[in-house]
Symmetry: C2
DNA sequence: ATTGCGTTCTGTAACGTTACAGAATTGGAG
DNA sequence: CTCCAATTCTGTAACGTTACAGAACGCAAT
């Protein structure tokens, strides 16, 4: 016969439903998974009762039995300062995970050992998939995860002749469009304040910039030593110097809102008026630039879209999709 | 997706250690928990082997058996725009969780149903503790969690005659110090651009502001309709109007970096120079203000500390501490 | 000797789930 | 009527852990 009496007070389990329907636990389990060997009528009845008692599968039970964690892990470097990036990306990921059984867990790492969280996750099997930020051109985490068959997606491309899902902002297209914007406003001498040269997307940015400069027949104002990783006051000083130079540019393409702010600060110190004497274009991930200086031209980079896309790709890979089909280059103009 | 099963390739469990030591699984379990009924020598031997084989307890096993999830859930509103806040707080939390078995999972909610994630966590027992942001003076989530005996901590105080752990920035002290700063620079007519009045900390801010204004015998420039929730262009326009008023203030205390930027934009449009004609003080949670306008006076609000403190409080409550002892008001001057 | 007792260890069962092998019930086909 | 096969359901075992009730042992007190 069946089991003892059910108090009804506790969290409902398969057993509860089995008791209420008079079916076996196994049958209930199969029914809720819409298994083919269960009668349609029975399935419906089980589903009804399940909804009535508010059944929610116990994650620990599933995980113990099947090994499936229903967890996506976002690996974050806690030392990076990129403010808006993290929250927006997290929001995007949670959006993509909202109607799935997946949870998002944040796994931090310090620059002293970037491999640590990845190893932890693999060794303890604590996630079904991983999202990596701050991807490097040759990223050891990527090789490690591939070796251990753990699905993942990277924010930013790699350059190691290996295929995996990624999402990247189309910085080439950004730089091209930025120049185009400046050209449209009649600017002639343009400078580029790009990312640190060792990063892959510095190359993309430079390529788009140079292509546009050729296409629109503009003059490049060289700005070698300056990049986003420079300290605030240096960028600011650099802005002042640029502003005071006799052959100063009348347009600047900038790869981050932060450095744009620094430059603008310096340029204004030098007595220039943005929008009149010089135009500056920057990427913006949140709207705060508009709060202060609407004169700064902006092209959107949406990290929420990035998060959503990365999460979707990991899920797709988990479900067996071809990783080669999960690589997305998203430009300023496109919406996902 | 699955690799070949190699003999020593499996993840070690208690059974593995039991086999290696010749002990029973129970003994091994008790030994690793440093239980009193196990011989000291045995414990040491078990610990050694465990370390050797790299034993890590299986979370699903523990969770299924004991109900302990080792999860802290951070409940986030995905519609809020406060950029730096989230990432810094997340980092702070992960710091506090770093040397514990706890994981951080992000649970999002939309403004349309703030109770949803809290209910979910309680019903599915999916966390041992919860951290709540955007706390309201009378917060239904707080009552609900108290009712269901789930430990939690709130970012911001409540006003419902009920005791629970919280962490709050001392906005009264901030406003007082901000005025003091302006007074020290010889400013006489000060305006306050505070938080939306329905929020609890608007009251705190106003109190500190008014107290300082009395203490330093300054004149309040009234600024009724303006608060942080106003749209960007309105704040900007407001700044311009203030700047052009004949009785304009010579100092402004501002509750957020964003609105400070808007105001400064407007003031500069009106021809004022920050630091000469008028001084403006704002809270800053990241250093980006300094990137653009070093003339803006800033007082730090550290969300990383907030995250760390909140996480520590939740853990302490879980371990049985008195919630009344887990309430921290952190001012601009104090470090935790 | 027997009893009692503390110390140290052990086996069993259970948490909720699913894989698997098997059982009961149909409805035809022989 | 028997037999087969498809359909639908069931019980058992296992994932890794810990609570619990006990077992084996030495040792002291009766």
């Amino acid at each position: 016969m069946k089991t003892e009496t059910e108090p009804g007070d506790e969290r409902p389990t398969l057993k509860t439903i089995a008791f209420l329907t008079g079916l076996g636990v196994t049958t209930v389990s199969r029914a809720l998974k819409n298994g083919p060997e269960i009668g349609e009528e029975t399935k419906e009845r089980v589903r009804q009762i399940a909804k009535q008692v508010g059944y929610r599968p116990n994650r620990a039970g599933v995980r113990l039995r099947t090994g499936k964690t229903n967890v996506i892990s976002l690996i974050l470097n806690t030392e990076e300062g990129a403010m808006g990036l993290v929250s927006e990306m997290v929001y995007g990921i949670t959006e993509a995970l909202a109607d799935t059984p997946y949870h998002l867990v944040i796994t931090p790492y310090s620059l002293s050992d970037p491999m640590e969280p990845v190893r932890y996750i693999v060794e303890t099997q604590s996630a079904d998939g991983v999202i990596i930020s701050r991807t490097e051109p040759r990223d050891p985490r990527v090789s490690y995860l591939l070796e251990h068959n753990l699905p993942f997606a990277t924010h930013g491309r790699t350059d190691m002749g290996v295929v995996h899902p990624w999402h990247d902002y189309d910085n080439e297209s950004y730089a091209y469009n930025a120049v185009k914007l400046l050209a449209g406003r009649g600017r002639k001498r343009i400078a580029l304040s790009g990312p640190p040269p060792q990063l892959l997307y510095a190359r993309h940015t430079a390529r788009g910039f140079e292509r546009a400069m050729r296409d629109f027949k503009l003059e490049i104002f060289p700005l070698s030593a300056l990049n986003l990783d420079a300290p605030a006051d240096e960028i600011r000083r650099s802005g002042r110097e640029i502003g005071m130079a006799s052959d100063r540019p009348d347009g600047i393409v900038c790869s981050s809102a932060m450095s744009a702010l620094g430059l603008v600060g310096g340029l204004e110190e030098a007595g220039l008026k943005i929008g009149r004497d010089i135009d500056i274009v920057t990427k913006q991930s949140s709207s705060f630039i508009g709060w202060y200086k609407p004169e700064i031209l902006t092209i959107r980079e949406d990290f929420r879209i990035a998060g959503r896309d990365l999460a979707k790709s990991v899920l797709a890979w988990i479900e067996g999709a071809d990783p080669a089909s999960l690589q997305h280059l998203v430009g300023p103009e496109s919406a996902l």
